[in-house]
């Protein structure tokens, strides 16, 4: 049976206007998301990885329609939801749910855990009364919480348990797609493993589609099927997980992988090539390829040409003019 992607995004753009000074005529914008396209199949995890300011969190919020895109298209289960007004969007809201990074600030401290998880059921008219309570108890069990904990308040839970609550709440309405924005970044390693395992189990059980946003390459490698690498509002490389880690083709992907510390002293990177400089401001991104000021393989043309994301090898899309479609993926020669 062939089915279309659960989530499709085409040329998505989100620019935030900056309020200039009283006398300044020229409006500056932050190009948080600057022309991003991808699709995610049912039951698949697309990881979105990048450093702070790359636009990955904004991307998640735009896909959720928590903020309106400047332009581009969002298709949810084949339906264009880009321009739906809140009322018309309502029935589609059930299909896509969000799990936040910070379980401490995303749960209402004055509501009991059971009420929090049951709220979406009532909002969407899916269950009420004892029906709802039964369903909430089931959800609690499914995410590894005791149903008796329904009476407790958020502050009575540990960080990992609160993230389980957040997941239970997202699951309550049987969504197709879950956008998870750094869902384990606030957790300690031992608890992080519990939550990652839960997310993977739930995906396998309900064929959930995940848009999984994280800065952590280890987490990415563990949960994703495919990974998109973002830099200053754009996807610079998009491919399946195994290819990304074994044969990265974009110089920025290569730099990210080389920079991440590996928990194995025998693999200590004594003289690794570290990319120099810092991420430029998204209000004033560099011309041409945004990565060119830091790129060890930069050519003069990189300063002017905006490289499109093209399929260089089957299933591997790269935005770099030094990577020609179909060419043998040889290591690049540094130019500086």
């Amino acid at each position: 049976m062939s089915e279309g992607p659960s989530l499709e995004v085409r040329d998505l753009v989100k620019h935030f206007p900056l309020s200039g000074g009283l006398l300044s005529r020229k409006k500056k914008v932050v190009r948080a998301v600057d022309g991003v396209s991808f699709d995610v199949r049912r039951g698949e995890t697309l990881g979105v990885v990048g450093e702070s300011g790359c636009g990955k969190s904004t991307l998640g919020k735009v896909v959720m329609k928590l903020i309106e895109p400047t332009s581009g298209t969002i298709l949810l289960g084949g339906t264009d939801v880009t321009h739906l007004e809140p009322g018309a969007m309502w029935p589609h809201r059930r299909q896509i749910q969000l799990v936040f990074q910070d379980p401490y600030s995303s749960l209402n401290p004055r509501l009991s855990a059971g009420t929090i998880v049951g709220e979406p059921l009532e909002n969407f008219g899916l269950a009420r009364g004892s029906d709802k309570d039964g369903r909430v108890a089931e959800l609690f069990k499914r995410v590894g919480l005791r149903p008796e904990a329904m009476r407790k308040y958020p502050h009575e839970f540990s960080g990992g348990q609160r993230q389980r609550l957040g997941i239970a709440k997202a699951l309550a309405v049987n969504p197709d797609v879950i956008v998870a924005d750094e869902p384990v970044s606030a957790l300690d390693v031992s608890v992080q493993a519990q939550v990652l395992n839960l997310l993977i189990d739930l995906q396998d059980e309900y064929r959930l589609t995940y848009l999984f946003i994280s800065h952590d390459l280890g987490v990415m490698r563990h949960v994703s099927h495919r990974i998109a690498v973002m830099y200053l509002g754009r996807i610079v490389e998009l491919t399946d997980k195994r290819t990304l880690f074994s044969r990265p083709l974009h110089p920025y992907t290569e730099a990210l992988l080389a920079a991440a510390p590996i928990p194995d002293p025998t693999k200590r990177k004594a003289r690794r090539r570290i990319v120099q400089g810092e991420v430029p401001s998204p209000t004033n991104p560099p011309s041409g390829c945004h990565f060119h000021p830091r790129c060890p393989y930069v050519l003069p043309a990189c300063r002017t040409i905006d490289p499109p994301l093209v399929e260089v090898l089957p299933g591997q899309r790269v935005a770099c003019i030094r990577r020609e479609p179909g060419a043998e993926p040889a290591p690049l020669t540094p130019t500086r």
Partner: protein
């Protein structure tokens, strides 16, 4: 040669919920010129250990209730506040996680660094400013001369951390304590800062205590490692030995719980499950009679729950410094070789190592 000696350090905080035993009898030695890693999860006491060494525990919140910290033979816990001030930022300095909150926002970078130099070296402002420029060059901050007159908010996160390091190094410290120095930074900037620290350590010969929750950072920087759990030292080993043969169930559990970016976790097309450590850390306001990890440990027996395990020598093995011995506090002595012995506080390390094999 040992320059910093910590013995049976106990630091407690006094809260409405009771007494928090944040550091509960920790001992270790720091040798000149080495990098000692302290690793553990939130609340394990690693940062409080660092703050206790420098006597930076806020008096209204808590205090050192026992043990000793000696730096080059001088007992630090009983120094007067004015004597202690001569140690901080001079012979022992510290780098914090968040440079924005540890730099003074209303002073220029140059003034902040020079202030430290004037204070400790007793030189004039002009000379101190020259020193400030020198250390900014040392940490390879771009355009150091101009940066002297800039304020912290004008710098990026990576640049601020370079300024913090420059300030910490401004008076040639013998010990540099770095508390999660790269945790707030992006991965490419983190790599730059870690490399810088290692390079500078070679150059100036200071010993480093690297405190972090990140086993990757430990593997890349430390020579010797202490693993802390619930305020206690549960394992100590050379970095190679620790990763090759983790002998404490907690260390082993931590290592197996990390999603690895260097390993393929795929098992026959399916994503593998991570090994979880069940449960959560114990509440530190209640006395823990036995091993603090017993409630989460797959190897635990009745004995573990009532009798705290001492640090046992793990000796032997491919990497072991087999000839070493240690005193009751579980201390690596100088003659144990460059990386010291392998110690683990567990009654059942034989079973742990067997399970790993």
């Amino acid at each position: 040669m040992t320059i910093l000696q910590v013995r049976d350090l106990k630091t407690q905080f006094f809260t409405r919920d009771g007494v928090v035993r944040a550091v509960d009898g920790v001992s270790f030695d720091l040798n000149a010129g080495e990098t000692l890693g302290i690793v553990g999860e939130s609340g394990c006491g690693k940062s409080v250990t660092a703050l206790s060494i420098l006597r930076l525990i806020p008096a209204q919140a808590g205090r050192i209730v026992g043990g000793s910290v000696t730096f080059e033979g001088t007992e630090l816990t009983s120094l007067s506040e004015s004597e202690m001030r001569k140690v901080r930022g001079h012979s022992i300095s510290m780098i914090f996680q968040e440079p924005m909150t540890s730099l003074n926002p209303v002073l220029t970078v140059g003034t902040q660094i020079a202030e430290n130099v004037v204070q400790h070296w007793g030189v004039g402002w002009r000379e101190a400013r020259d020193r400030a420029r020198e250390v900014l060059e040392l940490v390879r901050l771009s355009d150091p001369k101009r940066r002297l007159d800039e304020y912290p908010h004008q710098l990026s996160g990576g640049m601020r951390q370079r300024v913090m390091i420059a300030m910490a190094l401004s008076c040639d410290p013998k010990v540099l304590i770095a508390d999660e120095p790269t945790t707030a930074l992006d991965v490419t900037i983190q790599a730059q800062i870690l490399d810088l620290m290692l390079e500078l350590k070679e150059k100036i010969g200071a010993a480093i205590i690297m405190i972090t929750h990140d086993l990757g950072v430990i593997a890349e920087t430390a020579q010797r490692v202490i693993v802390m759990y619930a305020g206690r030292k549960v394992e100590e080993a050379s970095v190679e030995d620790l990763f090759a043969r983790p002998a404490h169930p907690y260390t082993r559990g931590l290592m197996r719980a990390i999603p690895r970016l260097d390993l393929d976790a795929e098992e026959a097309g399916r994503r593998a499950r991570l090994d979880e450590i069940p449960g959560i850390v114990p509440v530190l306001t209640q006395a823990i009679p036995g091993c603090a990890f017993a409630s989460r440990c797959a190897f635990a027996t009745d004995r573990c729950r009532v009798e705290p395990p001492p640090l046992f020598e793990q000796g032997g093995g491919a990497f072991g410094a087999a000839h070493s011995h240690h005193d009751g506090a579980g201390i690596a002595h100088a003659h144990d070789g460059p990386t010291g012995p392998h110690l683990a506080a567990c009654w059942h390390t034989d079973r742990v190592l067997e399970a790993a094999a």
